[in-house]
């Protein structure tokens, strides 16, 4: 059983925690030489990362300062960025994306935590069953999910309006009205189980020492208090990771939009990535689309840094 360390921390342990002096170039080269087999194993992934992630990202950044032409782009300075910040379409897309993220991320993470807690209390067989059931949407194509949800929102034959009909409530044109379309997409996102979150929370819950709960029980803590004061604080690193992961995912919402609303009615469901897609592949303004992408990257970076500072577990 894991035991929490008691009493004063030994001097040696404190020494180990101190930042070690940076090795000079010669010794780091020798270290690399010593571990060459590890670098060889990393090499294929590094090559793929460089080719398909690093170079395109750098190229997108370069492109954002150009007026794109198939045969010879021209340097455009900050023109594309000025156009991004002056664009009403970008402001609307940013507003919609922020609303989508602010609602779906907390809901997704909290629901994953609650579902994991409920599943964790079950027996081994039931745990496996529910774990698989909740993970299933994660391995299902969003295109398929969007098609099913489009049917569920159908005005004439959809499941939601059918259920509303039982209570004598008038049908709703879920995806056809500006005031309901974005919320329909938000509801859809909230009701799709956050499979990765559930799996990660379950794994993290399994690693929490039982002795902590035993001690709490001896002190008379209720189950809810144990969950609130032991489970949740010790799951903080997992929560941070999941919040970051789902925030990045939410800022990049795209498939649902293109499959279900096309950004409409009007601009009611226009989101940043859908706007970038239209700018690039419909209007062929790749320089402007690259500038929009860089701005989106910066927004996500800012959000990630804030979340990291607020939620990191060593404070």
């Amino acid at each position: 059983m894991n035991q929490m360390p008691m009493g004063p921390v030994p001097e040696k342990a404190i020494e180990n925690l101190k930042v070690k002096k940076k090795p000079n170039n010669k010794s780091s080269f020798l270290q690399m030489k010593k571990n060459y087999s590890a670098y060889l194993f990393l090499l294929p992934k590094l090559i793929l990362f460089t080719l398909f992630v690093a170079i395109p990202v750098i190229w997108a950044f370069v492109l954002s300062f150009q007026s794109y032409k198939v045969f010879g782009s021209e340097f455009a300075g900050l023109d594309n960025y000025i156009q991004v910040f002056e664009s009403e379409a970008f402001r609307i897309a940013l507003k919609n994306t922020l609303l989508f993220t602010i609602v779906t991320v907390p809901f997704g993470v909290v629901s994953a935590l609650v579902i994991s807690t409920l599943i964790f209390a079950l027996g081994k067989f039931s745990q496996s069953l529910f774990r698989s059931a909740f993970y299933l949407p994660t391995v299902t194509s969003m295109v398929i999910i969007a098609m099913v949800w489009r049917w569920m929102y159908n005005y004439e034959f959809g499941l939601f309006n059918y259920i509303l009909g039982w209570f004598g409530i008038e049908q709703i044109n879920w995806l056809g009205q500006s005031n309901s379309a974005l919320w329909a997409l938000i509801i859809m996102q909230c009701l799709i189980p956050f499979g990765v979150g559930i799996i990660m929370y379950l794994a993290s819950m399994g690693s929490i020492s039982n002795s902590l709960y035993e001690a709490a029980r001896m002190d008379g803590a209720s189950s809810f208090n144990q969950w609130l004061h032991i489970t949740i604080p010790l799951l903080k690193p997992t929560t941070l990771y999941l919040v970051l992961l789902s925030t990045i995912g939410s800022f990049q919402v795209f498939t649902q939009i293109i499959m279900m609303t096309g950004g409409g009615p009007g601009s009611a469901t226009e989101t940043l990535v859908h706007l970038i897609y239209k700018t690039g592949f419909r209007d062929f303004e790749f320089g402007l689309a690259a500038a929009q992408s860089v701005v989106l990257f910066v927004i996500i970076l800012i959000f990630s840094v804030i979340q990291f500072r607020v939620l990191r577990h060593d404070e």
């Binding site: 198939v70 489009r150 049908q171 056809g176 009615p265 009007g266 062929f284």
Partner: protein, 442 residues
Amino acid sequence: MNKMFKKSALTLASLGLAASVLAGCNGNSEEGNADEFKGKITIWDGPRWPDKDDNKYHWLDAKIKEYEEANEGIEVELVQVPWAELGDKLGVAIAGKSWPDIAPVDISGSAVSIDHIEQGVVEPIDGFLDKDEKADFYENALDAYTYDDKLYGIPNSITLHSMLLNLDLFEEAGVTPPENGEWTYDEFLDAAKKLTFDRDGDGKMDVYGFSTYVMPGYYESWPFFYKNGGSPLNEDMTEFTFDSPETVQAIQDLADLKLTEKVAPETHGGNDVGGTFQAWANEEQRTVAMQPWATWAIGAAQGKYPTNFMVANYPTGESDTPKTIGGVGGWVMFHQEDANKKAAVADFMKFISTAEEQNVMAQNYGIFPARISAAEMDPFKDNPEMTRAMEMSDQVVMLPRHPEWKKIDEAIQTQLQLVFNGEKTAEEAMADAKKAVDELLK
């Protein structure tokens, strides 16, 4: 010395004249020689009509085989691309300079834009079609592929939009269809009212008179907006004109079919293309009696969704003459480095665009030939609905050919969506569209 100079100058001038006469006689001298090309030509195409094995690419497969046998050393590779993905894939291919040699696109902006032409991505093909060959194409078909007095593709089909009326529902409601498919908007509205009925008496409408959809890039509803004589831009394309009183009235009329007249379902003016068509064509639904569609729907209603229907004009308004929106399809050649290959690509494009091939395509694929000689083969002699639709060719209005059309279209259509869902009046929506379009026209 002076005499000698004069003689040399005369000789040079004569040689120059002879060279230019020879070049004029043989248009291929600048365009390369197809016979000298050995290598691969890549063509993209979407699925067309199926053969007995459900192969929807059999027509082009057969033509490729025939061409390769007749031209030793030339290999033609067909890349099968679903129509829905063709625009995006071509956009990516153009961005990566990895375009095919030939693709079935128009130059109005769906996949290839005027901007691409100006950048040299699309090859002009004037040198490969002589005056007589060009004379065999309908003028509007050639116009659709002409920019800056150069031809940028070989037209192979003409499409247009028409009204499709479900005659079983007309009979059930006791409504007489318009004679010869000609009617006014008042007659259309009257029919739509009668065609909206509650079949089982549960207080809910089971059939609606009319519906259509509104979304960028689709123009089924637009001929209604032209009924009073309006158009989106003025003639020299410097001014937005869809905010004229007659157009605003026409837009409001069509939206009011749902909002006030209640002869169209709630989904009228939405963005569900498939759902809209199913409501008219699917045997299990048939909840809408009249819808406007492009000519492909005639083929669908005669094949996969057998329906008792007729083709009618769009109703007329104040302008008295019916209008419809048309489109032209064809083959486009992308930028070539090798003049001989360019000639071979043009040769293959002509090989699949003969009058015989356009006749075959018209009979099987529900499109109108772009060649006059193909139309004279009477491909629709056993198909009265297609014949009726072809008669509407003279009602065709083409969309404005503006380099920023895709953005203009989006600015208009997204505002139209808000009229149809009742969030704005047509006047408010077109005033807002004008602000956006005026920026694009500057």
